[in-house]
Amino acid sequence: MLRTALKTVFAHKLRLLLTALSVMIGVAFIAGTFIFTDTIDRTFNDLFDDIFEGQDVIVQAEAEFDVGFSGPPPIDESVLDIVLSVPGVEVAEGSVGGFAVIYDKQGEAILPTGPPTIGGSLVEDPRLGGSGEIRSGRLPEGPSEAAIDARTAEDNDIAAGDVVKIQTPDAVTEFEIVGTLGFGESDNLAGATYAGFDLVTAQQLFGLESQFSGISVLAEEGTNPDLLRNAIAAALPEGIEAVTAADEAAAQSEALSESLGFLQTALLIFALVAVFVASFIIQNTFRIIVRQRQKELALMRAVGATGGQVVWMVVIEAIVVGLFASIVGIAFGFVIAQALTGVMAAIGFDLPSTTAPLASRTIIVGMAIGLGVTVAAAVLPAVRASRIPPVAALQDVDVRLRMSDRRRTIIGSIVLAVGIALIINGLFGDILDLGPLNELTAIGVGALMVFLAVSMLSSLIVKPFANFLGWPLPSLDNLTGTLAVQNSVRKPRRTATTASALMIGLALVAFFFILGDSIKASAGAAIEEGLRADYVVSVTGFSGGFSPALGEEIAASDEFEAVTPLRFGFWDRDGSDEFLMGIDTATVDKTIFLGASPGGIEALGRGGVLVHEDVFDEQGWVVGDAIPMGFATTGLQRVEVVGTFTENGVVQANFLVSLDFYEANFEGFGTDVDFVLAAKAAEGVSPEASRAVIDVAAAEYPNAEVRDQVEYRQSQEDQVNQLLVMFNALLVLAVVIAVFGIANTLALSIFERTREIGLLRAVGMGRRQIKRMIRWESIIVAIIGAVLGIVVGLFFGIVVTAALGAQGIDVLSIPAVQIVGLVVFGAIAGLLAAMLPARRAAKLNILEAIAYE
């Protein structure tokens, strides 16, 4: 039985390949995601191992919670003496770090798109690691020398002896570059630009005179790092901790990997969508194969094979297809990983070109999904195959193996109802409280069920649908049009499944279009309402912020009436990261309409926190409540809620504190800089004049971008557009698989219709007409898929937008042009899918087609 099955599989290599292709793409993406994230993990592990090499113990301020890149608050210089007095300490040095932008020789700031721009002091003792090692040149000495990371030096053609400007929180200063820095294997710190100085210079530049960000300790030969850590810890004052370098390396590496975890999750979700689409293709293919092999399978039954053996035969084919697809897919994962690495490199993340080795997890998950999905999709057709009666071998009977329309309607409706219920419950959470993670899963499962149900139910409407879509065809393209419409409805289920595969991808695209457009519209409305200022100065990329000096300079000019700085900070809200903004309460009323509760702004100036109305209502707080807020520097505080606000166009946080409160509770990297400035020009000053002043002021701050109201609004839209492009690019994967699916189904259908096509050719149909007929059919199927997709996408878009009302997305906007464009896109996809099958059909040998059995 196994041999018979295997022979059949390999007799149809092309079919095997086409079928496997759909799963292959999905598996390749899954494997690629894993390989890629493994590469990132390994890179960070190596990086932190390198950074902490030559150190045994780190002494730093105790942080209440992990703040990622920001690092712990500073400690006093005197701690170094305590550390040095501990027996077993060979060397110990303090270091500082902070925000720094390097300029190239032409005077342009070097700003990577994603990673931060940082700087710090370099250790002096060569035995001690911790701040990179000199690749070329020497260590900087004194207030006019600096060393920069080797990658930045190379990319910008900066060499020892060059003089470049470097911006630090309070100034832009010229430095002579005296050396380049490497970090173990890496030429930079995960894409960040790094400027190194001697300790005293760095302390001045970062405003940390007599302070350290941390102290690096090297143990004496033969001293156990853990014991040394304990000894140092015992000597340290309260609030300062000692950790072994190994622990710190692991913790930082993990923190970074975790912050990139969302990337893995996002990529995997798109890969799973692709696999889900592939499962439709597999199921359809096997259904058609079973139909075509009906006589053969009936003959097997007639000569004594059991129903179980017939199931087994079909399943074996699925196993072969699944195995083949998984193995090739995992191999192609390296290509995908390389492509992702390339994308990361393009946005500034420098990852090694060698990908991580194949982890057993990658193989197991890839195989399980590839094989599992293929076999699962083939089981139903296989079971149907076993119901073929032996008599079918002898007679030309059309065996009805499919579910009755009645049962289909009932089951499909139930699945649809449950799916919608899961989505609604997940989004609005009124009926069952599942917890945030389970709710997301429930929404995902609900979406899958909706897709399945629509696929099931759509076979019932395919016929009128195709006839409706195809009504202009017969007059447009007489016979070929008529035949194409007829052919597309011949096997409604086949057409429905094929169209559904395309539906999934396009539904998600439509969904993102609607969500994105709604976000843009909501943001636009919020900005219009909330922004009283004429200009918004914001930070480019993730470069922390810019010196408060900028805001002061603008405010000091006659052309400006008020400038409100906003600062950004993370805090711990019941164990999860939340962010807040520190705001200048004195000026805010002139620049931003906060929509604060009466007296709220004045109260905020005296302390406490202003909470966004939506969160406030959701939590059921009342003014006067003291809520727990955890800060890295000052630990857990109970902060009084002094009022509410509604603005969400400029203030992109749900919690607002005063700048005084902010400064009292935030210290360290990225907290001594302004994140956003809202600047209002003085009465009677022309836009040109105010613009000139603010542009000149900001020119000194390379990572500060000035935008007027229109530009600011545009920039918010651009951010959404960027995400849309990214999501849609990832969804192309699912659409490509669906196109393969249409092509495969068409090819199999054409094979079934060999005689018919032969007859058409015999009585005088030209090859071009045959091609046209196939193309029209493909386009009809694709447009059905596109329209179904749009309907489902509209549903998803509308309910999700409604659910996000509390997150400030209170305007539903449906981009009609893009949505209609999807239909055109679907038609083009159909045309592409028909290319090969049409060619094959046109080349059909007439004699073979009409030959008798």
Binding site: N478, L479, L483, Q486, L759, V763, M765, I850
Partner: protein, 250 residues
């Protein structure tokens, strides 16, 4: 009269000169047609007979422009088929040739009417409604025109096919075992109609069959054996055909 003379007088609808058709190479070489010359006069009903493997179907396919000769020439009217491109051949089949096959003659998704009009629908030309009515009337399928093939009996299906072969007034109709799948009553009706088409409308028909009764409807029977024409019978009856057939393979 030689083939050349016949062509010159314009009374030949199709002819094959020294037709050679070879399948395979070396040891597996099969000469399906081994120097066949024949002509099919206009307005006559010719049957091609011969035992299995004699090459009769190959002869029909080659003359009809469905297959290409290895050597020799085929003419339909004045046109030599060997020099035609696939496009021109397609056009020729559509305009000059009608077909009736043994089975699977109809497109299942089209109605009987659409199937009859198939060559005309393909070309997009207008059709002669009076002629259409006459043809479907004679064939007795005028009340079945809105039906799909799956709703027609085997005999009705073959009559729809015959109507299709005639409706475009082709120069020649080729029929490959048209009655092969029919019961004897339906077969008789179909063959009778084919003979009437020849007698009353001057249609030229060439039919391949292995059934002596079917062959007896023709004006002339050409006998083929091992890729060669071995004999010819005029105004056959079932008995004379059977007698001649007995000589094969004896």
């Amino acid at each position: 009269m030689t083939a050349v003379q016949a062509a010159a007088t314009g009374t030949v609808a199709a002819r094959i000169d020294d037709g050679l058709k070879i399948y395979g190479e070396g040891d597996t070489e099969v000469r399906a047609l081994d120097g066949v010359s024949a002509q099919f006069e206009s307005g006559r009903f010719t049957a091609i007979m011969g035992p299995s493997g004699s090459g009769k179907s190959t002869l029909l396919h080659c003359v009809a422009g469905l297959d290409v000769l290895t050597g020799g020439q085929v003419y339909i009217g004045e046109t030599e088929l060997g020099s035609l491109s696939d496009k021109d051949l397609t056009l020729l089949r559509r305009e000059q040739v009608g077909f009736v096959f043994q089975a699977f003659n109809l497109i299942p998704t089209l109605t009987a009417r659409e199937n009859v009009l198939l060559p005309i629908l393909i070309s997009g030309d207008d059709h002669d409604e009076a002629w259409f009515d006459q043809v479907v009337g004679i064939l007795g399928i005028d009340d079945r025109l809105t039906h799909r093939p799956s709703e027609l009996s085997g005999g009705q299906q073959q009559r729809v096919a015959a109507a299709r072969a005639l409706v475009s007034r082709p120069a020649i109709v080729f029929a490959d075992e048209p009655s092969g799948n029919l019961d004897s009553k339906s077969a008789a009706e179909l063959l009778d109609f084919m003979r009437r088409a020849v007698k009353e409308f001057g249609q030229t028909i060439v039919m391949v069959t292995h059934d002596p009764v079917a062959a007896s409807y023709a004006d002339r029977v050409v006998f083929l054996e091992d890729g060669k024409i071995v004999d010819e019978l005029h105004d056959p009856t079932p008995d004379t055909v059977i007698d001649r057939m007995r000589q094969f393979g004896a």
